[in-house]
């Protein structure tokens, strides 16, 4: 049975597209046929992060309007043949997406794909609403920062009242916390909310912590999802997240400060 995952946050710039690209690639690398959809109509960016911007011919809105078939619009990833990207349209018409149209496309994708990752735009407007409406699972990407935590909580409220599952009284969407741009050294100094703080406020199941990492910008510069950078801390954090989501037990990492040379020689544990 296919599952629809929405990657959402409310606030912009917290790492939704980075996360969507990474987990979609991670799921596909684990052998699951996966589609990742950019819901940010008008501000398409997933294609850049996935490195397929020059191969976009048709988009999400073309498919909804019947101007292209789903197969024509889906772009097969260059690194993994189980991963497909459905790019957003660059149209400025914000009503280009309709609930009916999105529902139809998702139904069609469900026949062929194991996981469908919906990359939500920021905000709580139509695109964000439609990205989460049909979801089975929600990945809430949050930064350890006041406005991001507040917006995440608002998104939780919307997920539990405005989604299809909520409206039809089905089992609620499974919600997971992905805490990104985490800086353990700043947490230790009391300058940043800790994982425990954020979990206590949002009471969410923690799927993983992604450390603030140079590798994320390097990855987007080159159009390779960061999870493919297996040596990087952020890449490993996303690999853990995918494994945990698929039911593997993995201890949480990147929560504590990296020990410097001094710490390695003289540090306690």
């Amino acid at each position: 049975m296919a599952r629809i995952i929405v990657v959402t946050s409310g606030k912009g710039g917290v790492g939704k597209t980075t996360t969507s690209a990474a987990i979609a690639m991670g799921l596909a690398k684990k052998g699951h046929k996966t589609a990742v959809i950019d819901f940010d109509v008008g501000l398409r960016n997933l294609d850049l992060i996935m490195g397929c911007e020059r191969r976009v011919v048709y988009d999400f809105v073309n498919v909804i309007n019947g101007e292209a078939t789903l197969n024509q619009a889906l772009i097969r990833d260059k690194n993994c043949n189980l991963l497909y990207i459905l790019p957003a349209s660059q149209t400025r018409d914000k009503d280009a997406l309709s609930q009916e149209g999105v529902g139809k496309i998702l139904d069609e994708l469900k026949k062929d794909f194991k996981y469908i990752v919906c990359d939500s735009p920021a905000g709580i407007e139509k695109g964000a609403h439609l990205a989460m409406y049909f979801a089975d699972d929600a990945f809430i990407v949050t930064n350890p920062e006041v406005s991001s935590v507040r917006d995440s909580d608002r998104m939780l409220g919307i997920l539990s009242s405005k989604s299809r599952r909520a409206e039809q009284n089905e089992e609620p969407i499974r919600e997971y916390l992905l805490l990104s741009r985490y800086a353990p050294d700043r947490v230790k100094l009391g300058e940043m909310l800790s994982v425990d703080d954020v979990q206590e406020i949002l009471s969410l199941h923690l799927l993983g912590v992604i450390p603030e990492s140079k590798s994320v910008l390097n990855a987007s510069n080159s159009g390779m999802p960061v999870i493919l950078d297996e040596k990087s801390d952020a890449g490993q954090a996303y690999a853990d997240i995918v494994a945990r989501y698929l039911g593997e037990e993995r201890p949480h990492r990147f929560i504590d400060e990296k020990k410097g040379l001094f710490g390695m020689f003289f540090g306690g544990k």
């Binding site: 006041v146 935590v149 507040r150 800790s194 406020i201």
Partner: protein
């Protein structure tokens, strides 16, 4: 206490301040989120009825909705003005 310690303590408080502010805010926003949608209208109409008999201010009436696992409580609180002459 050295100067360094002083800075350390003031830094340590910024994350805990953030947590405290968020806890209050999130609790408040969650409670208003769970309120039934008829609540503002109910409050308005109740105020109109009460004003037929007593001259109270808009903010003298509060309607609170609380919900726990077993029951829902609707609490109505009206603060009467001082020295209100009886009109009924």
């Amino acid at each position: 206490m050295s100067l360094l310690d002083y800075f350390r303590i003031s830094k340590a408080s910024s994350a805990s301040l953030a947590k405290e502010r968020l806890q209050i805010l999130v609790a408040h926003e969650r409670s208003s989120r769970n309120q039934p949608s008829y609540l503002p209208q109910l409050q308005k109409e109740l105020l109109e009825v009460i004003r037929k008999y007593i001259n109270v201010d808009q903010d003298a009436i509060s309607v609170n909705f609380e919900q726990n696992d077993t029951q829902e409580t609707l609490e109505l609180n009206i603060v009467l003005p001082d020295h209100q002459p009886k009109t009924f």
